[in-house]
């Protein structure tokens, strides 16, 4: 058995948290809280490591001899500037917050606009690339829900037949979402049980 100690710790921790969530045992509650409090700084450290990894990746791409990516220098410079501004101004300074509100916010909003155009163009050329029932179905569903969510049919909602029809059509995405959520729930339970019984050990490296 590989990494028996870490496996035992993981199983014991999972069982304690699980029993603390389901069983009203006073002793388990502080233990659960302590374990969760330990998790938060560990996750924060993981976030810091992820930032360092991002910097190293872009540094390698910038210094790569074969395919040098000059856009990486913008990321590195932005990181250095933001980090320096945060150290100097502190995160709570209103000027520092403008980095988000005046740079990040419009940039990401613009990307969403570009995404809208790209998705529109992809939908237009769908029949050019894909011919079949799947393309027809996708195109029909796209058109239908665009019409429903746009509010164009708000006027006709008072019509009895249209009202029932729109109510029925609105349940379709909810039904799909429920199926996805059920799949996610089952997957989460399976993953949790595999970790509790030691069959899956992602922590062992």
């Amino acid at each position: 058995m590989r990494a028996p100690i870490s496996t035992a710790i993981a199983i014991a921790t999972g069982l304690l948290v699980l029993f603390g969530a389901f069983l009203p045992i006073p002793v388990l509650l502080p233990i659960r809280q302590i374990l969760l409090s330990w998790t938060i700084p560990v996750a924060a450290t993981a976030g810091l490591i992820a930032i360092l990894n991002l910097l190293s990746v872009h540094w390698r791409k910038l210094n790569s001899a074969r395919e040098r990516d000059y856009y990486s220098i913008f990321l590195l410079l932005a990181f250095v500037a933001t980090f320096a501004a945060g150290l100097i101004l502190s995160p709570t300074d209103p000027d520092f917050q403008k980095i988000v509100t005046h740079i990040q916010f419009p940039v990401e909003a613009s990307l969403m606009g570009v995404l809208t155009v790209t998705l529109t163009y992809a939908s237009i050329r769908l029949f050019q690339r894909k011919r079949g029932w799947l393309a027809v179905l996708f195109t029909a569903s796209t058109i239908l829900f665009l019409i429903l969510l746009s509010g164009v049919l708000n006027i006709a909602e008072n019509i009895p037949l249209v009202k029932e029809l729109l109510a029925a059509l609105n349940t379709l995405p909810i039904a799909g979402a429920r199926g996805i959520l059920l799949g996610i729930a089952l997957g989460s339970i399976t993953t949790g049980l595999r970790i509790l019984i030691g069959a899956d050990r992602p922590y062992s490296g």
Binding site: L29, R32, Q33, L36, S37, T39, I40, P41, V42, A43, A44, G47, P91, T92, Q97, V100, T101, Q104, F105, V107, E108, A109, L111, M112, G113, V114, T116, V117, T118, T120, Y121, S123, I124, R125, L126, F127, Q128, R131, T139, I143, L146, I147, L149, S150, G151, V152, N154, I155, E157, N158, K163, N170, P173, I174, G176, A177, R178, I180, L181, I184
Partner: protein, 798 residues
């Protein structure tokens, strides 16, 4: 044996010597009068032998019952009596042939022995008129000599017997020596074996019952038989006077037993008694005899020799010949053979080899049934017979060819050349039992393997093993392969054809330029056109003030419930319970989320509700600040900032908010101030408002908070793309209400009955943009479908 060992000094003497060359003492001072030194009780096996012995014919019995039989014969065993009777009969036949004695020197040795044994009786009544004329074989002379071995009395010298010392055979001389040794080495009677004693007692009993067993008159008894009888008159005296050592006596008796058993077992020379004394030197003749060569494999250890006769006869029990029948056969064959032998004139006698061959041909039963018994008397002066015995077992048609070619050829090289007389001999057939006893080497097809297999490994882990594969030798046999040129021998025309084919293949490898690369420009242009169209349309609607959208006439249940919860919060008088605002959206969707959430937050803040802002997104806290910047009063909102750890921080916040986020963004402890100090659990908040554009984070918040909220409502403000995934939780009751997108905001505006919540032209631009996208998709989809139907007939036409 061609020599006689002197019993006095141990010197070697020739066979015809009477006295020792060295000590000049008579070699036969004490003739074997103790041939039967029986003493003690007889054993069962001897009894059985007697019982099994064939009773003599009635005529012979009548003779044996004559009152003139010497008294000493009563002590003799039955078989000896029968032998004597036959000897007497034979002596009569010899007397009729006495004129042939002058030519005795021309006879073969074995015939001399026979004549010596049979010429001694002065008078004998023999009935040999009907017997066949056959030469006397060696084994027959052995029988005769055995009789003489028993007859010489101690008081009768060789002169009385009328036998010259030169005419004595070797075995007889050796017996004489043996008896001398017995006389010189007395053995106490108590040391004799039991069976010997029993035999003596049996003789005594027979003496009592049959006082006269020899019916022959005294004048008819030959001299040599008289002397023998004289020596047998007092067996007890012999046993006392001439006691022999136990071992020597036993050995002697064993040899005697072998004589008795031999006729019963046609090939019965299983064992050979070890020569323990010079007196038994005559037995060595049997070892050297060629006949014994056939049966040497049957000879076992000396211990087997000492076994009782019954035990030794067991292996031959399955034989067809019973003991009585066999004994009777060979005994009955004695007189005619000897008589006929004597009847042959010297002129008619062929050479020795031819004579022996003819004898074998004429007497097949004897040679087959009693060959083993006669090996003792095989004369060394008869090489043809020796060769016959040596060769005959392996000359058989049943033998495989390889045996004849390989094995037998090799043996034939070493063997002596066959005499001319051998050609007339019929090759002996290998008996079944002897064939079964052949060694496996005689049947196996020679040695398997080559000389290399016999090589012994000298190095490596297999050092010392034999027959190891010669790896080194094989390696040395390999050499570097020869290099052959790969260049084709072609002419100029063939070379041109090859170049042409190569050029054609090169064109195929290059391929054709993709038409997609040519369409990259129009694609970019199309994207730009689409973007421009959308932008122009939205701007046209916003700036132009075109109202194309209509407010919703019907409201979704989640929108209604959301509005109800907000209204209840605003209407509640409990101002101490703060509202937890979870801000979890990205700046990319901040335009939609903030547009939808701003009116709701403003209503709450305007109602005087205190809020605690928390986010699991690094930009969420800043976006929350931007969201509440203009609406919140001083100290009404406490921004706890970013909670690292994802779902773990959400769970910690759900269980104990004060421990999960104790301080705000400025480092001030929040939970000791009013109204936040009343919050110990998540259910102590007045409401939890989740602002999210992400389905995953929305799901985590709902799943972690809803079990612990108790009666605290969970309200969700979401984007339009996340609404379908959150709506199931709302319908299940895990969320009190949801407000999603601009349509939700429109519903909220309609429910509140206020205007201005949704900016003017915002919903129109939104609907105009969606309708443009819808039109583009429909148009181009129809276009491509039409093109597809148009191209298919053209392709079919081609």
């Amino acid at each position: 044996m061609s020599e006689i060992i002197c019993p006095h000094c141990g010197a070697s003497n020739p066979t015809d010597a009477i006295e020792c060359k060295k000590c000049h003492r008579f070699l036969f001072e004490s003739p074997s009068s103790s041939a039967f030194p029986f003493s003690g009780e007889e054993d069962d096996w001897l009894k059985s032998l007697r019982e099994d012995a064939e009773p003599p014919p009635e005529s012979e019995q009548e003779q044996t019952e004559s009152p003139e039989t010497p008294p000493f014969t009563e002590e003799l065993p039955d078989w000896l009596i029968r032998i004597r009777q036959r000897s007497q009969e034979e002596s009569g036949a010899e007397e009729a042939q006495s004129e042939e004695a002058a030519e005795e020197e021309e006879l073969p040795d074995w015939l001399k022995d026979v004549e010596i044994a049979s010429s001694q009786p002065e008078s004998a009544s023999l009935e040999s008129s009907d017997e066949e004329e056959l030469p006397l074989p060696d084994w027959l002379s052995l029988v005769s000599s055995e009789e003489e071995n028993q007859t010489p009395p101690t008081s009768v010298g060789d002169e009385e017997l009328g036998i010259e010392e030169e005419q004595l055979p070797d075995w007889l001389k050796s017996i004489g020596q043996h008896e001398e040794v017995k006389e010189e080495e007395p053995l106490p009677s108590e040391e004799t074996t039991d069976w010997l004693t029993g035999l003596t007692l049996l003789n005594e009993e027979e003496e009592d019952k049959e006082p006269a067993t020899f019916p022959a008159p005294a004048e008819e008894v030959p001299e040599w038989l008289k002397s023998f009888e004289t020596s047998e008159t007092s067996p007890t005296t012999l046993a006392e006077e001439e006691p022999s050592p136990v071992e020597s006596g036993e050995d002697w008796l064993k040899t005697f037993e072998s004589f008795d058993e031999l006729p019963e077992t046609p090939f019965g020379v299983e064992s050979e008694p070890p020569i323990t004394s010079p007196e038994e030197a005559w037995l060595q003749t049997s070892e050297e005899s060629p006949a014994e060569f056939l049966f040497t494999e049957q000879i076992s250890s000396p211990e087997e020799i000492n076994l009782p006769p019954d035990t030794r006869q067991e292996p031959f029990a399955p034989e067809d010949h019973s003991t009585q029948a066999v004994e009777g056969d060979w005994l009955a064959s004695f007189p005619p053979l000897e008589g006929e032998t004597l009847g042959i004139s010297p002129e008619e006698q062929p050479s020795e080899a031819a004579e022996f061959a003819s004898f074998l041909e004429e007497v097949p039963p004897l040679t087959e049934g009693a060959s083993s018994a006669f090996t003792f008397e095989t004369n060394q002066d008869q090489p043809p017979a020796e060769e016959d015995f040596e060769v005959s077992p392996f000359i058989s048609e049943d033998l495989p060819e390889w045996f004849d070619e390989q094995v037998f050829e090799s043996s034939g090289e070493s063997s002596l050349p066959a005499p001319e007389s051998e050609a007339g001999l019929e090759p002996a057939e290998l008996p079944g039992w002897l064939e079964a006893m052949r060694p496996i080497e005689a049947v196996a097809p020679g040695r398997i393997g080559t000389d290399e297999d016999q090589r012994i490994e000298t190095s490596g882990p297999l050092s010392g093993f034999q027959g190891v594969l010669p790896a080194e030798a094989l390696i040395t046999q390999y050499s570097k392969p020869a290099i052959y040129s790969a260049r084709l021998q072609i002419n100029e025309k063939q070379r041109n054809y090859a170049n042409l084919l190569e050029s054609i293949l090169q064109e195929e490898k290059q391929g054709r330029t993709s038409s997609r690369a040519k369409s990259a420009g129009p694609q970019i242009l199309a994207r730009m056109v689409i973007g421009i169209l959308l932008g122009v349309t939205i701007l046209f609607v916003l700036i132009g003030g075109i109202s194309i959208a209509s407010p919703p006439a019907l409201f979704a249940p989640e929108n209604v419930s959301f509005f109800s919860q907000i209204q209840s919060l605003i209407a509640t008088t409990n101002q101490n319970a703060p509202i937890l605002l979870a801000v979890d959206f990205e700046p990319a969707l901040a335009g939609e989320i903030m547009t939808v959430a701003q009116p709701v937050i403003n209503d709450l803040l305007q109602a005087g509700k205190n809020m605690v802002v928390v986010s699991i997104n690094p930009t969420g806290a800043i976006l929350a600040e931007e969201l509440l910047l203009n609406s919140a009063s001083e100290g009404q909102v406490r921004n706890l900032g970013y909670l690292p750890g994802g779902v773990s921080s959400i769970a910690a916040m759900a269980s104990q908010p004060s421990l999960a986020a104790p301080q705000d963004r400025f480092g001030n402890y929040v939970w000791d101030q009013d109204p936040y100090q009343a919050v110990q659990n998540i259910s102590d908040f007045a409401a939890v408002v989740l602002v999210s554009d992400n389905t995953d984070t929305s799901r985590l918040w709902i799943e972690q908070l809803s079990p612990l909220l108790d009666t605290t409502p969970l309200l969700i403000i979401a984007s339009h793309q996340a609404a379908p995934m959150i709506q199931p939780y709302v319908q299940n009751g895990q969320s009190a209400g949801m407000l999603a997108g601009l349509s939700g905001l429109a519903a909220y505006q309609q429910l509140t009955g206020r205007t201005g919540i949704l900016p003017a032209g915002y919903l129109d631009a939104y609907q105009a943009g969606l309708m443009l996208i819808l039109i583009l998709i429909l148009l181009f989809s129809l276009y491509y479908l039409a093109m597809q139907f148009i191209k298919k007939p053209e392709q079919k036409g081609k």
